[in-house]
């Protein structure tokens, strides 16, 4: 059996502003923020109060529905502010960082000697567990239910994604420690995927099943890889971990320190000099975006994450818990005269309806946030299938989510999908339907009703 995954259906969205492969240290952020909304479905129960001193890696809050899952502070400092929204929902926990960082010492961990229970409780206690997510439902993994396999994508195919071959460089020891530990948590395999033509540090790891991926986006999405390697059946669970987070897990196991350091790409057509920064989870984006990035009063959108699935953040916002890229593109809140029928050369299209991006497949585009049209009912057919490699009927499952038919959602493969799998169909949607939101709400409904 060949371990190659070749994806044919999909779309590489080429945008201007790809990061140059140089990294520099970002200005150290004074404030760090943990936002419970990054952890979908988690209801936080605070341990620390305003004024509490925390060390890096010390628990700030835990999950109310599963108290074992703890969330650690990325830095040492003092809890400065806890902002709340409606019904006193916790929106953000702001921590003022100390000048001298102190780490909670979880002790060196002997992965080879430990059994799965010991590894699990170590990861849970140290705040590393939130890096482990599960499917179905695309939420933080339930530690009580063993997964049939663990999937790690070492290949990023999303537009302007951080190049994992570059950001994982030189971290072989941490990566190895992390995958060895994860391997003990499952009876099944640890599937690691790397780009076919890349030079990934993941290739040399032991204890994994390696897959070479090629083809257009979403070939790098872990959801695509799961569907091609070992699709999820009803009742099964798989876990996924972002490759960059393996480093944090690995470092914790090797040194006992929770080091929230992460290499982040600053990209997008609005950025003067796109490149990589070494920073920490929860840092203020202002520490990066103004440094040969954008000007203070520019009319741009800052996105924590990639342009397809990331979250919009304000200039005084923060890097979210899982992202390794900050994308900045121009806002598109302007009218365009006869924009709907004139020939279009400067925007991407999958059709050839007086749109001409098919003439120059290699060209990089400068796209803005305009929707290029208004929200409509589903009309066209067959467009989603062209960019959707999963063995699932995309429009049918979206409609099932919209009319909330749980049986049909289950039958059509809802256990296998995450919102990001529908990012490309949302991008190409002529009717401008919010596919990722529809899927997220569908998953939430299933989680609530079926569990």
């Amino acid at each position: 059996m060949s371990n190659d995954i070749r994806i044919k259906k999909g779309l590489d969205i080429k945008l201007k502003g790809e990061a140059e492969k140089t990294s520099e240290k970002a200005i150290v952020s004074n404030f760090y923020t943990l936002r419970p909304e990054d952890f979908h479905g988690v209801i936080p129960k605070l341990i620390s109060k305003v004024g509490t001193k925390v060390k890096a890696g010390e628990t700030v809050f835990f999950d109310k529905s599963n108290e074992a899952i703890k969330f650690a502070s990325p830095v040492s400092g003092e809890v400065l502010e806890i902002s709340r929204g409606e019904k006193r929902k916790i929106l953000a926990i702001k921590i003022q960082a100390d000048k001298e960082q102190a780490y909670q010492d979880y002790g060196k961990f002997d992965v080879d000697a430990a059994d799965s229970e010991a590894i699990k409780s170590h990861l849970l206690a140290s705040g590393c567990w939130p890096f482990v997510k599960q499917r179905p439902y695309d939420v933080i993994a339930n530690p009580d239910k063993a997964p049939k396999a663990i999937f790690i994508s070492g290949y990023a195919s999303a537009p302007l994604a951080a190049d994992l071959d570059f950001t994982l460089q030189g971290k072989e020891a941490e990566l190895q420690a992390a995958v060895t530990a994860l391997g003990k948590l499952t009876e099944g395999k640890v599937h690691v995927s790397v780009g076919k033509n890349g030079n990934s540090p993941l290739v040399g790891l032991t204890g994994i099943t390696l897959h070479h991926v090629s083809g257009p986006h979403p070939s790098g999405n872990v959801g695509t890889q799961i569907n091609k390697i070992d699709p999820i059946n009803k009742g099964e669970v798989v876990w996924t971990v972002n490759a960059q987070d393996l480093i944090i897990i690995g470092e914790l196991l090797l040194t006992g320190k929770f080091n929230a350091e992460r290499i982040v790409a600053l990209v997008g057509s609005s950025v003067e000099k796109p490149r990589y920064f070494v920073t920490k989870i929860g840092s203020e984006v202002a520490t990066m975006v103004y440094d040969k990035g954008i000007t203070k009063d520019s009319h741009d959108r800052i996105i924590s994450g990639n342009v397809l699935s990331g979250k919009q953040v304000k200039p005084d916002g923060y890097l979210d818990y899982y992202s390794n890229v900050i994308s900045i593109i121009p806002e598109g809140d302007d009218y365009e005269f006869f924009g709907w029928n004139k020939p279009i050369f400067n925007k991407i299209s999958t059709s050839r309806a007086f749109t001409f991006s098919w003439l120059s497949p290699k060209k990089s585009y400068d796209l803005n946030t305009n929707t290029n049209g208004e929200h409509r009912a589903f009309v066209t057919t067959g467009t989603y299938e062209e960019v959707f490699p999963l063995d699932i009927y995309p429009m049918q499952i979206l409609k099932a989510c919209m009319y909330k038919d749980l049986d049909e959602m289950e039958a059509l493969g809802m256990y296998e999908v995450a919102p990001e799998d529908f990012a490309l169909t949302e991008f190409v949607c002529v009717s401008k339907q919010p596919h990722q939101k529809i899927i997220r709400e569908g998953l939430d409904l299933m989680l609530k009703e079926i569990g």
Binding site: I13, P159, P231, N233, K234, E236, R301, V307, L308, S309, Q312, I329, E331, D333, Y335, F337, F338, W340, N341, I344, K347, I348, T350, S351, R352, A353, F354, T355, S357, T369, N370, T371, N372, G373, E374, H375, R376, A377, F378, V379, T380, T381, G382, E385, D391, I392, Y393, Q396, A411, L412, A423, E426, F427, V428, C429, V430, K432, P434, H435, K437
Partner: protein
Amino acid sequence: MGLKESLHNFKEKNKDKKWLPAFSAIHTFLYLPNETTHNGTHIKVADDLKRTMNTVIMAMVPCLIFGMFNAGYQHNLQVGEVQAVAGSFFSSEFWTMANFMIGFWKIIPLVIVSYGVGLGIEFIFAIIKGHEVEEGYLVTGMLVPLIVPVDIPLWMLAVAVVFGVVIGKEVFGGTGMNILNPALTIRAFLFFAYPTWMSGDKVWVEGAVERTKEIAAGANLDAISGETILGSLAQGKEAGYEVMDMFLGFIPGSVGETSALLILLGGLFLIFAKIGSWRIMLSSVIGALVMGLIFNQVVDSGWITESSKFYGLMSTTWWHHLLIGGFAFGTVFMATDPVTASQTNKGKWIYGFFVGFISIMIRVFNPAYPEGVMLAILLMNVFAPTIDHYVVQGNVKKRKKRLNAKVA
């Protein structure tokens, strides 16, 4: 202050007015809106529904213009003003201003009534239901004048459009929700409500009905009669036209359906633009050819003799069916309507095949009116969701099988 700013300010000022959708429809016609993405994908493709619909209309424009020339040409041919053209697409007998003007003054009112009435209803429903005016009618409005006889009275067209848009579309929830193709619903309404205006040998050539009336009133004039090829064949007569004329379109028929050449070009353009489904078009052609071959075979085997009333159409050379009547137009522009066709790729093959197959079947066996495309497409519209259901069930079964294999 430019137009752009004035319109923007007007929109902002009247944000909560009930009639805003009507204004927005015109506003967004002039300007691509300033709407931006929120969460979800932050960028979007260039295409929207307006562009998609517009592309289909563009593909039909050559048929419309040809239809204008042809309306005049058929009339002038009957009254002896021009000679019959033979075999050349760029015949100077055909492309004359005189021909064009007759057609122009006949067909432009059809277009205006179709769009005026149809869009009027869309606007009213949008305001009542408080949503934006959706673009579905843009294509329907262009299809309607192309699939009716040139002499159809405007009031009939207006009544039919009201019926088609309200009963065919709006009661189902508007654009994207309808079961039947609205343009064909309109045509079917005309066909069943006013059959004398939709069939026979008096309606296909401009002025024929009027001339008949004048003769009845005692005027000493030659009658204008314009039988369609299908009509002639159904009566056991010769087709009366060269195959090349059928292909190029110098024949009587509904306004836009006659030129197989231009329809073919329009279809190729839609396939190239990735707007029209090549699966449906191709499978429909295959379906029609298969049915045509079966009929030819039946005739060759001697099961049907010349005395049979079906002989004329059954013995028609199998591939000629593609060129005559509304088959080509229906296949390219109506069967491919994404809302009412099958929505899965596999389903499209099945759906298209039966559209073609049943078209030719009804064409041959329908005693009242020798054409079957309209009824075949409407019939398959009804079956499309069922076809899709079974295609999707295939995927569901595969998933169940995978689960069972694990458990076993």
